[in-house]
């Protein structure tokens, strides 16, 4: 064994510094591997070397999970109002319009109806790139309407979460979206319609404490951060370092809060199998 060879993650002795042409290559946050974007896309935005799952958006998940060209988007134009006239270091209205320009999205969730292996599902997928995937009135309303579509069309509901929690700039309105979406899911459950919740990196705060944790089946991507309070807050509260692997998908599986963890490349086939049992 080469005892002088560094074995710690991220510290590769044989790495050569190189200039990356802008936009063509990505560096894996997990192992430091430099991967060409085309290759990354082929591997569904997971690292070819360490299987790290890159954060991706709703558009990517739609292409990975749903039948080709089957997705019909709803409520695409819905946008945040500014009910509190909220200003911090920046006006909320500016923050929203800047983010819309930057991301090309109108808010932090995309919803609609699509097909998985020819089976219709009501589908919602959050976008972390939009103000940290935060849940305000728009996310709450769009998710609620998506659940309504599942209810009315008697089809399964699938939600992919990726969110830092409730959106502060809408105050109590954001908080109430937790109650609103949860009560919708209660009605869906009474109608015996299935709800599958998929947790991706990160899923925290009010999103976790509402629809993310209420799936009949809860699936997580590997090594995602999932929790209620953020790690920094917990560390401050208890005044100790957090154990390794705390608040990861694997930690939740071990403690009994997710049904299973699945690699992104196998997600679609798992959903197909599950839907055979549930719908």
């Amino acid at each position: 064994m080469a005892w002088f060879k560094r074995s710690k993650e991220n510290i590769a002795s044989d790495s050569v510094k190189m200039e990356l042409p802008d936009g063509l290559w990505e560096k894996c946050p997990g192992c430091g591997e430099i991967i060409h974007k085309k290759q990354l896309e082929t591997y569904l935005w997971t690292c070819t070397k360490c299987d790290h799952h890159f954060r991706i958006g709703s558009q990517e998940y739609i292409s990975i999970l749903l039948d080709k060209a089957s997705f019909k988007e709803y409520d695409k134009k819905m946008r945040s109002a500014d009910p509190l006239d909220f200003v911090d270091s920046k006006k909320y209205t500016e923050r929203v319009s800047d983010t819309i320009k930057k991301t090309g999205l109108n808010d932090a969730v995309r919803t609609g109806i699509g097909k998985i292996h020819d089976k219709e599902v009501s589908f919602a997928c959050m976008d972390f790139s939009f103000i940290g995937g935060s849940m305000g009135s728009v996310v709450g309303e769009k998710i609620s309407r998506a659940i309504d579509r599942a209810y009315k069309n008697k089809i399964p509901m699938i939600i992919i979460s990726s969110s830092g929690g409730a959106r502060m700039m809408e105050g109590a309105f954001s908080l109430m979206q937790m109650a609103k979406t949860s009560s919708r899911l209660a009605r869906l459950a009474e109608a015996k319609l299935p709800y599958i919740s998929i947790l991706t990196d990160p899923t925290t705060g009010g999103t976790t404490a509402s629809y993310a944790m209420l799936g009949d089946i809860i699936i997580a991507e590997p090594k995602a951060l999932i929790g209620f309070a953020g790690p920094r807050v917990i560390k401050q509260t208890i005044g100790k370092d957090l154990p390794e692997g705390f608040q990861t998908s694997e930690f939740l599986l071990e403690n009994g809060f997710v049904d299973f963890i699945v690699h992104r490349k196998d997600m679609r086939s798992k959903l197909i199998t599950l839907l055979e049992y549930l719908a």
């Binding site: 819905m78 270091s89 109430m176 609103k180 009560s183």
Partner: protein, 316 residues
């Protein structure tokens, strides 16, 4: 007595102390008129101060260490209280209390956050910050109430759900989510009262109901002003601005249609006269219950569903 005096209460207290001083001499000196004058001045000052509180000042009153807590209200408003403990899964969380009680002719299940008064009791109550066991105990008691057609009253007063290691391990998020899910379909009346601090999911975890009441000097929002300041302003020093920005007082929330009714407090806040506060709250609760018990269970659940469905503001 080691009384807590808030900054804006000081001028009032100074005048009141002066009156006490003067009374001592009123036997020998003819200063009765002066005293009456001063008393009027105090009353005016009080009205002026308490009718013009900033949002941050209300947050401070909501956190006043002498403010009545859930068990105080139970003691002052009800009789034959039978406290019930434990979630039947893991523990008895001391930061949420609950049990059967009689509010005059109404047999109810009362559940609420519970803070402590001093260091020792605060440690015992975990400063009113529940772990998952607390929410699961609350849900157990609510299901029990449903089984025996008993209306539920919940009292919200928490700085937040506890952000701890074990809390995460035992599923803090799941416990809160489950309560929102289950409370939305309970077939008995639920009256929610915010009696102090309504901090985010930790408060909402027992806060889904048919009528949401809020005492005058309370706050209820998605985050505390301090945490909001630290995240958005990247410093703890902007809590006053954060409190303003969050629009978190009873009047704000009534305007936002998130609460249904403001319950007035004695001038100076609930802590200045807990018995009067409790008597008034009791009257309001009975009024609300008398309306809700008339509704059929299905209607009750439908209304509750519609109520939360309406919350939110957006553009299409």
């Amino acid at each position: 007595m080691n009384k807590t005096v808030l900054e804006f209460e000081k001028p009032i207290l100074d005048l009141e102390n002066k009156i006490v001083e003067m009374r001592k001499y009123s036997e020998v000196l003819d200063i009765d008129d002066e005293i009456v004058k001063l008393e009027r001045k105090v009353q005016k000052l009080k009205e002026n101060v308490y009718n013009n509180l900033t949002r941050w000042q209300k947050v401070q009153i909501a956190r006043h260490p002498e403010r009545p807590y859930t068990l105080d209200y139970i003691e002052l408003m009800t009789k034959d209280f039978v406290e019930l403990h434990g979630d039947r899964l893991c523990k008895d969380d001391k930061s949420i209390v609950g049990g059967f009680a009689k509010l005059d002719e109404y047999k109810v299940m009362i559940i609420g956050h519970q803070k402590g008064r001093d260091t020792k009791s605060n440690v015992y109550r975990n400063f009113g910050m529940p772990n998952p066991e607390g929410y699961r105990k609350a849900l157990r008691l609510m299901k029990l109430a449903e089984k025996f057609d008993t209306p539920i009253i919940t009292m919200l007063d928490t700085p937040g759900a506890y952000p701890g290691l074990e809390a995460e391990q035992r599923g803090q998020a799941e416990a809160i989510a489950r309560n929102l899910f289950e409370m939305s379909k309970l077939k008995v009346p639920i009256v929610v009262v915010i009696i102090g601090e309504g901090a985010s999911g930790g408060a909402l975890g027992i806060g889904v109901g048919d009528r949401i009441l809020m005492l005058e000097n309370c706050w209820y929002s998605v985050i505390s002003p301090e945490s909001c300041s630290s995240i958005l302003w990247k410093s703890w020093d902007f809590k006053e601005q954060a409190a303003e920005a969050l629009r978190l007082t009873a009047i704000d929330l009534l305007r936002q249609k998130i609460i249904d009714r403001i319950v007035h407090e004695p001038l100076g806040g609930a802590h200045t006269n807990p018995p009067a506060m409790a008597a008034h709250l009791k009257m309001v609760l009975k009024e609300e219950l008398s309306q809700l018990v008339k509704l059929k269970p299905d209607k009750l659940v439908d209304n509750r569903y519609e109520k939360f469905a309406r919350m939110g503001v957006f553009n299409e």
